[in-house]
Symmetry: C2
Subunit: 196 residues, 2 copies
């Protein structure tokens, strides 16, 4: 698909059919996700793919599916045949920036005013969403307010923080998010030229 | 361009010719950047576009161009005809999640275990990089260790944190990052199936 069409077509899909997605397609989508840049090429972003229905139900409960259903949405988190839990490791970045090419002898590690492990996870998430649309699939992302419970449910080490769950599947008719009523900010509103 | 080609073609370009990029192209690239999702459709990510050479030099100095040049790179931060400073506002997210549809009466605001303003900035950055490649241009991103100095130089309000600078321009022969010697992690290394 053309790049512009993928970008324009992508939106959060909040309902899925039960048609499965092949392993091959999942791998292609994650390979795209791996093409995100990362600070120092740290590559601290990893993925847990969940397709078993029982586990999907557990993940959906932790990710607050009940709240979405109360708002009128389909139970789209558990319905999606594929869930990708995106995790990022702050530790990987610290380790990387203590390597000799990033730190002179006797020097301190950089001070990380920006948590680039989150920036990079967002970049990888974006590629995953786009790559799913490029495969003709629907996709959504939900944040998590209880990442620790996700770690426990999936055996994720404490140093890898799950930042949320991406759903992938064949789209079914859905209800759009109420947040969209806010409208997109105009380009003039978000673009400052030469100076704020 | 086809989506897969854009993804595969994108890499950090660390040298640029002095050929300018038209306003129209810059706007198309930023419009793509605006198509990143954001928590609650908060849209807390904004951009400062710098094209004036004098200002580009100031930004390049703050972004540590000297270090890159010492490593053997061209002075690619100041050479790029377009710099986009990407900023994100934590405050916009707090304001959004205190609106009635996100918070019941008497309820507390969500506790933000993940700084989604950084996740969303990363997603927007990814779209900007891809959109620049789709325009046939070269692009790079550098993080900033002194965001406060960027705020001062460009008059960015303290509530908008600059997360780094994206360069856009016509690519010139460059030296690749030493970090690439690390190699890309294999898919098996970053993909866990059903459970970690």
């Amino acid at each position: 698909m053309k790049f512009q069409d993928v970008v324009r077509k992508r939106r959060m899909i909040r309902n899925f059919t039960n048609e499965p997605v092949s392993d091959e397609v999942i791998e292609r989508i994650l390979e795209a996700g791996q093409h995100a840049p990362s600070a120092g090429f740290s590559q601290g972003v990893v993925y847990v793919v969940v397709t078993r229905e029982e586990t999907r139900q557990v993940i959906a409960e932790i990710a607050g599916e009940e709240w979405y259903v109360r708002c009128g949405h389909a139970p789209f988190i558990s319905l999606a045949p594929v869930q990708i839990v995106i995790c990022t490791s702050e530790k990987v970045y610290h380790d990387r920036y203590n390597e000799p090419d990033k730190k002179g002898k006797g020097q301190e590690e950089v001070n990380w005013p920006i948590p680039y492990w989150h920036t990079d996870a967002g970049a990888s998430l974006m590629l995953i969403l786009l790559a799913a649309v490029n495969e003709g699939l629907g996709t959504a992302f939900v944040g998590v307010m209880e990442p620790k419970r996700l770690q426990e449910a999936l055996g994720i080490p404490t140093e890898y923080l799950p930042i949320g769950v991406t759903m992938i599947g064949h789209p079914a008719p859905d209800m759009k998010s109420g947040s969209l009523k806010r409208g997109r900010r105009s380009l003039d509103d978000v673009l400052h030229r030469e100076h704020w």
